[in-house]
């Protein structure tokens, strides 16, 4: 798909008419009118365009792939995925003849949600991961100029996303009963306005964070902020209940004057937040950059802990000859999973999504699945599988990916034990420990026999998931730069995964858990399948590490060509 996009873009670029239009727009943007406007906001136009060109050049050389807004290929792919999703959604709504206002609200809500998830992450990546800013901090560049250049690509994301999510639904809205001819224009215009407000809000939000949060805490706060859209979904459901419990009146006052006053107050606070947020960004951002970058240096030094259990597990996984490499894999991945900034950045937003099924499971864990009634505990192995899917798909990416050279200097045979150590860690921490915790509760509620059988089933099924998903780890863990487009593509994949999980749970409930011997037989079968699949997946993982290291060793070649070119 990438190749076709690039080919198409090249063909379009070659078009003389498009070239002429592009050149005219470019000249106008860099001309005196826009320059005057930029100066009015404290932005030096000359340096602003220099920075824009620099970032474009670095992106072209595939040096800056962490930012979706600067990576045209990834942005195209993400937009295409959302375009397909919203086309499907619009088609369904037109077929069921939804009321126009419901249709409009659904797409605006969807636009808001998607933009929040993407733009919060983009803004955070731009402002709280200021690698380039550190390089440029000693240059005579104003904070406003630099921030404006960094945030320009947010508008690009906005253009792509709003168009992808709303273009076809806006046109399809004409087919709804009672829709006016002007509906597409109204729909598209309001989506754009909403998008701009959200983009400004995101910038202001991080501006306020930079203004008030100590620099060393900024990275962590930024990560939590990225999880806020999903957190809001969870909290929103419980918000009314919490207010009731606190005996706070939940109904809106009926008096229009009070309502108007509340609306004005909210509007004022929102405008002030945006204004002060943006001012904080443009003020002394470059001065604070060093402190933001060096944030983790303030992490407290902890005395080294001996980990005999980890050593024993690794020895078991690696065997006699591979015990030390297995321990290396086990300890390395365990530590990096908790500390690597990029990994945490991608995992923290998923915590709310993981908490919801867990709460549901424990809420309904009193009913045994063998009793004929549906219980959410059926979800346990699949929820662990879903979590492992996420972990495995991002495990190869990290902040300090250039440190992967260290693996080039070790004998290739090391990786046999190393991958087994990584596997042992994932299996122990993501499958064994949660199931053992569940076993304690379930044995209390259901009796030991049923609990043991269910947990054995859960262990076997989750192990099959891990065996399959281990193939997603493409290279040395934490040895590659983060690919933002991958994260965006994960979302529809996870939706499809949710559907598969629903089918599996239905099969468990309706067919399997009526007979204990049948569950036992399926457990044994799944365990055998997991064992076989794990063996082949470990071999594949080892090969992918070697392949990745082969690419790393060729990196200097690529640079050489580029400089020569």
């Amino acid at each position: 798909m990438n190749v076709y996009w690039v080919a198409l873009q090249h063909r379009l670029r070659d078009s003389t008419l498009l070239n002429a239009i592009g050149e005219a727009v470019r000249r106008w943007l860099r001309g005196p009118a826009v320059s005057r406007l930029l100066r009015r906001f404290g932005i030096d136009p000359h340096r602003y365009w220099l920075l824009i060109d620099l970032f474009a050049e670095l992106t072209e050389r595939r040096e800056m792939l962490g930012h979706l807004g600067r990576d045209g290929v990834s942005l195209n792919m993400v937009s295409a995925v959302y375009f397909l999703l919203t086309t499907f959604l619009a088609g369904v709504q037109v077929l069921v003849a939804s009321p126009v206002h419901t249709y409009y609200a659904v797409f605006l809500g969807l636009t808001a949600f998607l933009l929040f998830t993407v733009l919060l992450s983009e803004t955070s990546n731009s402002l709280v991961n200021p690698v380039e800013a550190l390089v440029l901090a000693h240059q005579p560049i104003g904070g406003a100029t630099y921030t404006a250049a960094k945030l320009t690509h947010l508008l690009r994301v906005l253009g792509y996303m709003v168009t992808a999510v709303n273009l076809l639904p806006a046109l399809a809205g004409l087919l709804l009963p009672g829709a006016r001819w002007s509906y597409p224009l109204f729909h598209f215009f309001s989506a754009w306005v909403l998008g701009l407000v959200i983009a400004l809000f995101c910038c202001a939000f991080f501006g306020l964070l930079i203004r008030f949060v100590p620099a060393r805490r900024l990275k962590t706060i930024g990560q939590v902020a990225e999880a806020s859209p999903l957190l809001l979904i969870i909290v929103a459901g419980q918000f009314r209940r919490i207010l009731k419990a606190l005996k706070v009146p939940t109904g809106l006052p009926a008096d229009p004057a009070t309502l108007r006053a509340i609306a004005i107050a909210f509007g004022l606070v929102a405008v002030l937040s945006v204004v002060y947020g943006l001012r904080a960004l443009s003020g002394d951002y470059l001065v604070r950059v060093s402190a933001i970058m060096r944030g983790p240096s303030h992490a407290p030094a902890r005395p080294p802990r001996r980990t005999p259990l980890a050593a024993a597990i690794a020895r078991l996984a690696g065997g006699h000859s591979g015990a030390q490499p297995a321990r290396a894999g086990f300890e390395y991945v365990r530590r990096m999973m908790f500390r690597d900034w990029q990994f945490r950045r991608q995992m923290i937003p998923m915590i709310p999504a993981a908490v919801m099924p867990l709460l549901a499971m424990f809420g309904g864990s009193r009913a045994t699945p063998f009793g004929g009634r549906f219980t959410p505990v059926h979800l346990l192995p699949h929820a662990l599988g879903a979590m492992l899917f996420l972990v495995c798909s991002i495990l190869a990416h990290g902040s300090d990916y250039k440190g992967a050279w260290i693996f080039l200097t070790v004998p290739g045979s090391t990786f046999h034990g190393f991958v087994r150590g990584v596997y042992a860690l994932l299996w122990t921490e993501t499958i064994l420990i949660p199931n053992l915790i569940a076993l304690g509760f379930l044995a209390w509620f259901w009796g030991p026999a049923d609990a043991l059988l269910f947990v054995a089933f859960s262990l076997a099924i989750a192990s099959v998931y891990l065996a399959l998903e281990l193939r997603l780890v493409e290279g040395v863990p934490f040895g590659k730069p983060v690919d933002t487009s991958r994260g965006m593509i994960l979302m529809p994949l996870m939706m499809a995964g949710g559907l598969v999980i629903a089918i599996m749970v239905a099969l468990q409930h309706f067919l399997l858990f009526h007979s204990r011997p049948l569950v036992l037989a399926v457990t044994l079968l799944a365990a055998a399948a997991a064992w076989l699949l794990t063996r082949t997946s470990l071999d594949t993982f080892e090969v992918s590490i070697r392949y990745h290291l082969g690419l790393v060793s060729q990196e200097s070649t690529t640079l050489y060509q580029e400089i020569n070119g």
Binding site: P325, R327, A328, E331, I406, T409, S553
Partner: protein, 258 residues
Amino acid sequence: MPEAVVEFQQVVFCYDRTEVLHNISFALHKGEIVGLLGPNGAGKSTTIKLITGILVPTSGTIAVAGLPLPEEAIDVKQIIGYVPETAVLFDSLTGQEFLELCGRLHNVPEDTLQTRIRDILATFGLTSDRVARLDAYSKGMRQKILIAAALLHNPDIILLDEPLSGLDVNAAILIKDLLAALAAAGKTILYSSHVLDVVERVCNRVLIIHQGALIADGSAEELKASTHEATLEDVFRNLTGSAGLDTGVSRIVEALRS
């Protein structure tokens, strides 16, 4: 002459179609400290990467401890310690954790590994900093960690690319003494650097690479005698063709005035 530990024979290396090493042949012997000199871009780092097995030669043969590369790269990596020029580390790990990772990847038994880490860190004065994350380390401290990581598995061949970069005077003296002691213990050391007086004092032999070709191979005294120069710096300038040339300093000053 002691046995050859590293042998390059007619080695050619190309990045794509650009030949960057031309028919290089030399040998490193057991217990030698050999200096590798050359202007920027001459091919020093490429030569070192070829010995580590990270890069594969386009033609010619390389043997390390009698093992041909790249065929026996797995065994070769077990006996090589490598300190790269740029210290990119996993900053989320502490110094202790990084060294544990490197030692375990080289399959060093746990008890031996812990003893070596403790002793090396104590010698480098990093005992109290071992529990701090690497992103809090200074450039010199990171360099010490890199050198420690290269020594942990007790390699027979040690390849150092600008090892004194960022080190303070005391640490630099310590490393120079350490290199002499390691060579006396039978280790072979290849030392790439631009600091010529250090190379002159530390190394038994000097290789000079210029534009991808090996243009000199001998002790510092031999090179000085053959070129009739007083210092290694003059030898270097003479052989690399930079002696007597306009260094361009006056042009820079003029350009700044304009």
